[in-house]
């Protein structure tokens, strides 16, 4: 017992010490801003390297891109300046001239120059990706990088143009050439030129040399952080990262906090607990049960900011499986699902019930389609219409239950990953609603999301949940409905439609469909139209989006259930000046908000 008492006393002393301030490095008047990076978990073993997916580099704090994307509903090329103060784009988007911030400096005092941008682009080539594909035929790949002067750089686009070129270019992470430059061999740019424009074994060899650098670049671990952002990484442990203000940041007068503490989390419950304890100044949105949300709202200073989030959730069909190959069956199910009720149960704060199925988040759809949005079938709850559709599909009703045309019983199996509580709740609600209308329905959960996606892609499910409407780029939006998952794939720069059940085609829709429009019914190839969205002019994009929205609405490869709302938690008891609802900076980190001059210390 004496031993226990001694241990308890030691723990008490330690606790008291920990609650005090011994050993801490004091912060000044600006205080410590506490937040969470929702995009990744903190990994103390990872290097301070933005090319490493879990590296200790946090966007907007010690990680800087050329510019930060605005949350525009339809234009992916709207950006806030960052390392790039401004940029000029040629009318055909073939060349972009970037003007760097004149006062930008690294945290070691060295100026940020065009050479830093050039090296960063060189390193990005080793990783591949859209703007920096070595294959010159790749859409939207950069063709040349020319340093004009220490603060100006010109980048041209290859012959196969893409509307996403500017967006991908401005999203480039910028690293210091005097730290990362050693990773590129001296003849890197010559090798790149040969790899891009040459032919035969020499080109293949140089291509392999460049892509072979990927591992080295990812694993590179600088001894300490050299940042051009408003903060520099001071230290990181498995539970949190601590960042200190960068005295050389080009707009340092806008940055208020002395330090930023980035907390790690392994589950949503920890974020809830931090919020209830009032510990976080800002947290990314996580699914929150109503009871927990009420408790968070009661915390002093707690506020919820919401805005546009270009993501929707849908119930997707495998059209290679009967009876879901029949559009009447899909429409019948759409008429039987009360989406408002589903959303209220599944995502009361984080979503709004879809007004219809267009393939696009409603906020973006209204801009893209204008009045035509109201012309889409809203698929409101209508059991009579559903019954008519089921009869048109040859389904029969016996003893109050709908059966397949051959008389066999019909059960709708809705698949969902177990870890997504909102999807599970939605699936249960849909199952219950269908059962009430005489359709047997069950919910089948998968152990985790990775397994779910694999089985979905393998065509094992009849019906499952699917993310869609991933804007703002219209190409990305319709890729989710008429892309690889539905059979359309690029082979050597040519678009082809593969057979259902092969190469990831689990939606199994037809290659061409008849779509009714203002000028009558026409036959369209939705995948081909989607592909054109990548390079079409804005006027042409509008026309294509209108056709594809009608296609999605009439053919229903999915039933759009709810559109997500970007909901963020903030606490105003220490800092104020957070962005208002629907602000275009809402999807960016607090670090970017600070760069935009938003976060202010609360006055006592």
């Amino acid at each position: 017992m004496k031993l226990l008492a001694a241990i308890a006393a030691l723990a008490s002393i330690a606790t008291a010490t920990a609650c005090g301030s011994a050993g801490t490095e004091s912060s000044g008047q600006g205080g410590i801003y506490t937040t969470i990076d929702g995009s990744k978990q903190i990994n103390a073993s990872a290097p301070i390297n933005p090319f490493n997916p879990v590296g200790s580099v946090f966007d907007g704090y010690n990680g800087m891109a050329l510019a930060w994307p605005k949350n525009d509903p339809i234009d992916p090329n709207q950006f806030y300046p960052a390392i790039a103060r401004s940029w000029d784009v040629s009318p055909d988007q073939s060349a972009v001239v970037i003007h760097l911030q004149p006062d930008a400096r690294w945290s070691d005092g060295k100026p940020v120059t065009s050479e830093d941008v050039r090296v960063s682009i060189g390193l990005a080539y080793t990783q591949g990706g859209t703007a920096y594909a070595i294959d010159p035929k790749a859409a939207g790949a950069a063709a040349s990088i020319q340093v004009v002067d220490p603060k100006t750089i010109r980048i041209t686009q290859g012959a196969n143009k893409s509307n996403m070129f500017l967006s991908n270019l401005l999203s480039t992470d910028i690293v210091p050439a005097h730290v990362f430059g050693q990773l590129l061999p001296a003849d890197f740019w010559q090798k790149l030129k040969v790899a891009q424009t040459g032919k035969g074994p020499a080109a293949d060899r140089d291509k392999n040399v460049i892509t072979g650098l990927a591992d080295k670049v990812i694993a590179f671990s600088p001894p300490h952080d050299v940042s051009a952002g408003p903060f520099v990484l001071e230290r990181v442990n498995p539970g949190a990262a601590l960042l200190t203000r960068n005295p050389y940041f080009y707009d340092r007068r806008l940055i208020v906090p002395d330090k930023v503490e980035m907390l790690n989390y392994s589950g949503n419950e920890q974020i809830w607990n931090y919020l209830i304890a009032g510990k976080l100044d800002n947290a990314p949105f996580t699914s929150v049960p109503s009871a927990v949300l009420d408790r968070i709202r009661q915390v002093r200073g707690s506020k919820v900011i919401s805005g546009f989030s270009p993501v929707s959730t849908s119930l997707a069909f495998n059209q290679a499986h009967k009876p879901y190959d029949n559009v009447h069956v899909r429409r019948a199910l759409a008429y039987l699902i009360n989406r408002a009720q589903v959303t209220k149960i599944a995502s009361p704060e984080g979503g709004t019930a879809s007004e219809t199925t267009s393939g696009i988040h409603a906020a973006a759809a209204k801009v893209w389609l204008g009045q035509a949005f109201n012309g889409l079938d809203p698929y409101r709850l209508d059991p009579a219409k559903a019954a008519a559709e089921l009869k048109a599909a040859g389904m029969t009703r016996r003893g109050g239950k709908w059966a397949l045309p051959d008389g066999k019983p019909w059960t709708v199996q809705i698949h969902v990953p177990a870890a997504f509580s909102d999807w599970v709740s939605a699936a249960k609600s849909i199952s219950s609603q269908l059962t009430d209308h005489g359709i047997d329905a069950t919910v089948v959960t998968s152990a985790d999301y990775t397994l779910y996606l694999t089985e979905l892609a393998a065509g094992k499910y009849d019906v499952g949940f699917w993310l869609m409407g991933l804007g703002p780029s219209p190409y990305n939006i319709f890729q989710r409905l008429f892309g690889q998952a539905n059979g359309w794939q690029m082979f050597g720069g040519r678009l082809e439609h593969v057979a259902p059940g092969t190469q990831g085609n689990w939606m199994g829709g037809p290659e061409k469909v008849a779509v009714a429009g203002p000028d009558g019914t026409t036959t369209v190839d939705p995948g081909e139209l989607t592909s054109r969205l990548g390079y079409a002019s804005q006027d042409e994009q509008k026309k294509i989006v209108a056709v594809l929205a009608r296609t999605a609405n009439q053919q229903l490869p999915v039933i759009q259930l709810w559109d997500y709302v970007n909901t963020q938690f903030v606490n105003t008891s220490r800092y104020t000046g957070f962005p208002p609802d629907d602000d275009q900076s809402l999807r960016l980190s607090s670090g970017v908000w600070m760069q935009l001059g938003m976060i202010r210390k609360r006055q006592a």
């Binding site: 330690a14 920990a18 011994a22 503490e261």
Partner: protein, 344 residues
């Protein structure tokens, strides 16, 4: 001279025994490593696609998500399964567990080394605390078994023994981090403290370890108290206790006889339970966001990080095998009956 002659065969026997244990342990580790290698490779799920869709779910744009996940392709295992197995075993012989997929560019041994410290210390502290507490309370519960205190102690043991470890963890979290927020909700140490041998840093380590250690303690306390009470009651009826009492030995001596004989079987369980608690760490570390081997294993499974999964399984297996060997040797050392049986 006679003593030296007697010691040599005894020493040789112990060496043989230890060598046997180590040999069997190595075979066991090889068997588990082989089985886990093949099971892990058979787990369905594409790690790159999984990470891509997860990033989309978190609100990242498709282009950003593609950039973030494209690099992972370079870390996927290639070649036939048999070829991968031979490579894996060869690397294992060189204590190389490969490269992590979820933390590209970082060696699995480095990740495991960092995580192990956050599991070993709380597990040891929790196990020893629960052992001390459980054994002490078990003796009291046995001696006072016909009184209210004995009933109460036995009841506390039965109740706690039946509650799953994750329920205890969640309850402690709810009570001490939200209802009565006096302890941290997660993490191993406050990053504001400069790491090193200073009071603030060490105090913060202890402060953050209170809830995980308390969970380990409460989770196994029930088992100790019930086992100890049962052993003490059994020993109380033995002839040597009766003889000691009849000879008029002081109560302290009788108590020592009692405790020493009753506690013997528990030492074996103690060593084993340290190994088994590594399994429990999966729940506890997830709940408290404590960056140990359990959390590493959970994360590696969800990201299908084959190398890391294999490494984490292996380390936990080695922990349990070593605990078994230690238990067996410990029993030999502390129980004279086993020793004499061995040399006979």
């Amino acid at each position: 001279m006679t003593r030296a002659v007697r010691e040599r065969p005894q020493g040789a026997a112990i060496a043989r025994r230890v060598a046997g244990h180590i040999g069997r342990g190595l075979v066991m580790i090889w068997v588990v490593a082989t089985i886990s290698f093949f099971i892990i490779r058979e787990i369905p799920g594409d790690p790159v696609q999984g990470m891509y869709e997860t990033l989309l779910q978190k609100g990242m744009s498709p282009d950003q998500a593609e950039r973030a996940t494209a690099v992972l392709y370079g870390f996927l295992p290639t070649g036939s399964l048999w070829h991968q197995y031979v490579d894996y075993m060869w690397s294992l012989l060189h204590l190389d567990l490969g490269q992590s997929l979820s933390t590209p560019g970082v060696k699995v041994t480095s990740l495991i080394g960092s995580a192990a410290q956050w599991t070993v210390l709380p597990v040891l502290a929790g196990t020893l605390l629960s052992f001390l507490l459980g054994v002490t309370m078990g003796v009291y519960a046995a001696i006072k078994r016909s009184g209210k205190l004995g009933d109460l102690l036995a009841l506390s043991g039965s109740l706690l023994h039946g509650v799953p470890v994750y329920v205890i963890g969640l309850l402690l979290t709810a009570i001490f981090t939200t209802l009565w927020p006096i302890l941290p909700a997660g993490g191993p140490v406050d990053v504001a403290y400069v790491p090193g041998f200073n009071a603030g840093y060490i105090g913060s380590l202890v402060y953050h370890a209170v809830l995980p250690v308390a969970t380990y303690t409460l989770a196994s306390y029930g088992g100790w108290i019930l086992a100890m009470k049962s052993n003490v009651v059994a020993v109380l009826g033995d002839d040597f206790i009766l003889a000691a009492e009849l000879r008029g030995l002081r109560r302290g001596f009788v108590f020592r006889y009692l405790a020493r004989n009753a506690i013997l079987p528990l030492f074996t369980i103690l060593a084993l339970s340290i190994g088994m608690l590594f399994g429990g760490s999966i729940f506890i570390e997830e709940i408290f966001n404590y960056p140990g081997l359990g959390l590493l294993l959970v994360n590696s499974i969800s990201t299908r990080d084959y190398a890391l999964m294999g490494g984490a399984f292996l380390v936990i297996t080695v922990g349990i095998v070593v605990a078994n060997i230690v238990a067996d040797l410990l029993y030999t050392a502390i129980d004279p009956r086993v020793r004499s049986g061995e040399t006979a």
